[in-house]
Amino acid sequence: MIKFFLMVNKQGQTRLSRYYEHVEINKRTMLEAEVIKNCLSRSKDQCSFIEYKDFKLVYRQYAALFIVVGINETENEMAVYELIHNFVEVLDKYFSRVSELDIMFNLDRVHIILDEMVLNGCIVETNRTRILAPLYVLDKVAES
C-alpha cells in the first residue's frame, strides 16, 4: 500500500503532499524534511529505493523537484517507480510541459489528477485519457 505521495523541491519546500494514513501536521513537517534530506544526500549512481523506518521510499527527480512515494512491503518498487513517471507524464499532458509553478498555482488540479490515479493508497487508474477525463469536464464547466 502507498502511505504517502510527496512533491518536494530541492530547497525542501513541499509542493504537494497526500497522506493515505492520518499523520499529525507537526509529524508531517518533520517527515517531509527528513525525506527530502535523505533524497538530496543521494547521488545519481545510488538506487531509487531507500529503506526508511518501517517503510520504503521510492523517489524520482525531475529538474529541481523530487517526487517521493512511501510504500510498505506489499507494493512492487519498480511498479511504483514507473507510477511516478506515469503521473508526471499525465501532468505534462495536461499542463503541456509541467513546471513547479504549474503545480503551485494549480494545486487543486494536481490533487484531482493524483486522486484519479491513487485512491486510498492503491493504484486505481493508469490510463491517461481516463485520468484526465474529470478534469476536462471541470474545465468545460469553468469556461461556460
Binding site: 517531509e32 529505493f49 512492487n76 511498479a79 514507473e82 494545486l107 488540479r109 486522486d115 492503491c122 493504484i123
Partner: protein, 917 residues
Amino acid sequence: MPAVSKGDGMRGLAVFISDIRNCKSKEAEIKRINKELANIRSKFKGDKALDGYSKKKYVCKLLFIFLLGHDIDFGHMEAVNLLSSNRYTEKQIGYLFISVLVNSNSELIRLINNAIKNDLASRNPTFMGLALHCIANVGSREMAEAFAGEIPKILVAGDTMDSVKQSAALCLLRLYRTSPDLVPMGDWTSRVVHLLNDQHLGVVTAATSLITTLAQKNPEEFKTSVSLAVSRLSRIVTSASTDLQDYTYYFVPAPWLSVKLLRLLQCYPPPEDPAVRGRLTECLETILNKAQEPPKSKKVQHSNAKNAVLFEAISLIIHHDSEPNLLVRACNQLGQFLQHRETNLRYLALESMCTLASSEFSHEAVKTHIETVINALKTERDVSVRQRAVDLLYAMCDRSNAQQIVAEMLNYLETADYSIREEIVLKVAILAEKYAVDYTWYVDTILNLIRIAGDYVSEEVWYRVIQIVINRDDVQGYAAKTVFEALQAPACHENLVKVGGYILGEFGNLIAGDPRSSPLIQFNLLHSKFHLCSVPTRALLLSTYIKFVNLFPEIKTTIQDVLRSDSQLKNADVELQQRAVEYLRLSTIASTDILATVLEEMPPFPERESSILAKLKKKKGPGTVTDLEEIKKERSSDMNGSAEPASVNASAVSTPSPSADLLGLGAAPLANSAPPPSSSGSLLVDVFSDSPSAVAPLAPGSDDNFARFVCKNNGVLFENQLLQIGLKSEFRQNLGRMFIFYGNKTSTQFLNFTPTVICSDDLQSSLNLQTKPVDPTVDGGAQVQQVVNIECVSDFMEAPILNIQFRYGGTFQNLSVKLPITLNKFFQPTEMSSQDFFQRWKQLSNPKQEVQNIFKAKHPMDAEITKAKIIGFGSALLEEVDPNPANFVGAGIIHTKTTQIGCLLRLEPNLQAQVSV
C-alpha cells in the same frame, strides 16, 4: 502576474502564492501567512454572506497554507458548506479540503455524511465519484456505519458507471480495513470476484486491490478469484502490445494490473486444477521469456515496466516454491541483473534472490553467484545495495561456504556504515556458530568481531561465545590461549576484556603450563586492563580473580593483595566493594576443597535458542527473519545438533573411530628423525589392552572410563563407594597438565592417603611426569587436588598407572587405574587441502608407515558424532577432502620433545555392515 493558473484562475489565490514565493525569509513568510489567515478569518466571520466563489478561493488558500506546514484550525465549516454546492468546482474543493484536512474523528463527520449521502443519491457520476473518493480517503467508523450497506450495491449494480465502480471498490476496501465487522461477506462477494472479468481494465485494477485484501482475510470465500486472475493475466501477457490501447505503457501491456494480479495470486498456494496451473506456468514462462527478448523500445520506461512485472512474477514463483525449473530460471534471470548497469535492478535482484536462497530447489543455483555478491559488497557505492548484499550472503550461507562468507563479512565490517554494523555483527555471530565444525574457528571469528567492531558487539554476542566455550570442552584450551593472545594488544575493547576475563577465569589453567602464560602473567595481564574498564567489567574481573585463587594457589597472595587494596575494599561502588570484601574473606577462610567446590568450573548451559538470533529477529521485525530461519532449520536440521557438546555422550557411544589408520608422515621433512611410525599406528590398540601392574590389579570398570578419555580431557575417571577420581587436563604441543581430584565419598577420614603415578621402564624414557605430594589425610566429604605436569619426550604406547593407597576405617585400600595420557593428547590439528592430503598419503608407500585396521563399530555411526570424535581425538577434521563424502579424513602433528610426527587418518564407514575400514 502569473498566467500559469489554468481554468477559472482565482486571482487572489495566485497573488497570495506569488507573495509567498517572493518572501526572502521564513519570518517574512510567516508574517504574510498570518496576515492572510487573519483576513480569511474576518471574511468568514463577517456579516456579509460569502458567495461560492469566495468560499472556494479562501478554502483553497487555507489548503495551500496547510501544505506549507501550518495547522489550520478553522474553515472546516465553510468547506462542508461547499459540499452542498451544485457547482462542480466548488464541491470539488470542498471535498479536497476535507479529505486532506479532516481526520476520521472529526465532529463534522455527521454533516459530511449528509452531503455524501445526497451526492451518492444524485445519480450524477461525477458527484458520486467525489463522494466515494471522500469516503475512501477519510474512512471513519461513522462513515462505515452510514455507507457499508450501500457501497457493495453500487459496486456490483449493473448500471453503475465504470469510474464509479472503481471508486466504490476502493471505498469498500477502506471501510473493510477500518471496520471489517461492518462489512459482512454476502452475496455481493461472488459478484465482486467476477469484476476480474470486467471489460474495463480500470475496474479490474481497482477490484484486484479490493479482492487481494479480502482474500487475505477470507481465503475460502475468494478461492474462485485464482482461476479468474490467471485467465485475466494470461490474456494480458499474450496480448499484442497495442491491444490494450491506453493501458499499454511503453509497449508493456497493463504493467500495474499485471503486478496486482500476480500479487493476488500470492495469497494462494499453486492452483490445484491442472489446467489453471498449466496456464499460469505458461504465463510465468512467457514473462521470463520476454525478459530475454530484444526490447521493443529503447526507452527506460519500457524496461522498467517490463521488469516490474518480471520481479512480481519471480515473487510468485518463489511463493509457490514448487516448480524447480521456474525457480532456477528466475535465479538465472536475477543473476543477470546482479551485473546490470542500473543500480535499481541490482538492488531488486539482490533483494529477490534473498528469498530465492531459502528455497531448496534454487539454493544451490543462488550459491553460484557468491562471487558477484561479494564483489557487490566491495564495490557498490550505495549503502542500501550493500546492505542487500549482506542479507543475501547471510541467506545463501551454508556449511560449504560459511568460512568464505564470514571472512568477507568481517572484511566488510571494517568499512561498513555505522548504521548497519550491529546487524552485521549479529549475522556474523550467528553464522559462525551455526556452521562451525571447528570451534576454534568460531572462537577466532568472535574475537575478530570484537576487535573490528567492539562497540557494536551486544551482550548477547559475548554471552553466547562464553556459553559455547563452556559447553564444548574441545575448544576451551584454544579459547583460553586465543583470548590470552588477544589481550596482549595494548588497546583492546572492553568486550574483549569481559570475554577474556571470563574464559581465563574458567580455563586459564589449561594454558598455565606454558611459561609464557603462567598464572601470574595471566593475572597481571588482566589486571593491567582493570582500571580502564567500566564497573560491570571490573565486577566480572573480580570474579575472575577469585576463580584464579582456586585454579592457581601459587598466586593466591598476589590476588589477596589486590583485593585488599583500598581501591577495592573501599571502592565507592557498592557492588565492587562487596565483591572485594567477600572474595577476600572467602579466599582467607575457606579450605582448598571448599574453594574448589564453590569456584568449580561452570556447568554446561542448557541448549536453547541463540539469544543472538532472537535479537536479530527483533531488529528485523517478526516475520522477515523467522520465516527464513524456519525454512533453513528444516533444510539442515543438524545445525543445532552440532552445537551440542558431543563428548558428553561419549560413554554411551564409545569410540568407533580413533583406532582407524593412523600413520606417520615419513616423507614430511619435519619427521626425518621419526621412529617407525607403525608404533604410533598401534597405539590405540595397545592402549585398550590391559597392562601388567605391579602394585594392584586394575580396578574393574576403569578401562571403559579410560577409553572415554581418549577423546576428551575432563570427567570422572573412577568411582566406587569410597572414592571418586575426577580429571581435568590440558595439553599443548608436547606439554600437558593434569589435575586429579580425589573425592572422599564417605563421612570418615582417609588416612595415609598416598597416590603415586607409576611409569614402566619403557615409558619413563618417553614420558616425563612430575607430581606434587598431597595431604595424607582426606576429610570425610572433602576433595583434594593433585597436579601432574607432563612432558612427552618421544612417542609411547603404554599409559602410566595411578596407584592409590590409603586407610579407611582401619582397612588398607589399594587400587590402580590407568591414567589417560595417550599419545594422541599431543596431537595438534593441521588443516590441509585435498591435494596436499592425497599427495602426502600416496608418499607413504613404506608398509611400516601405514596401518590399516578393519573393525566392527560397536555403535551406530552418526556422522556428527564421528566428526566430534575425530576432533576430540586431536586431529583436524578435513571436510571435502575425500572424494567420497561419507569418508572422514583427519590430519595432525604429534608433538614430542624430540620430534614431531605428522599423521594422516582416513575412516571409511561401511554403514550396512557397520564396519569401518
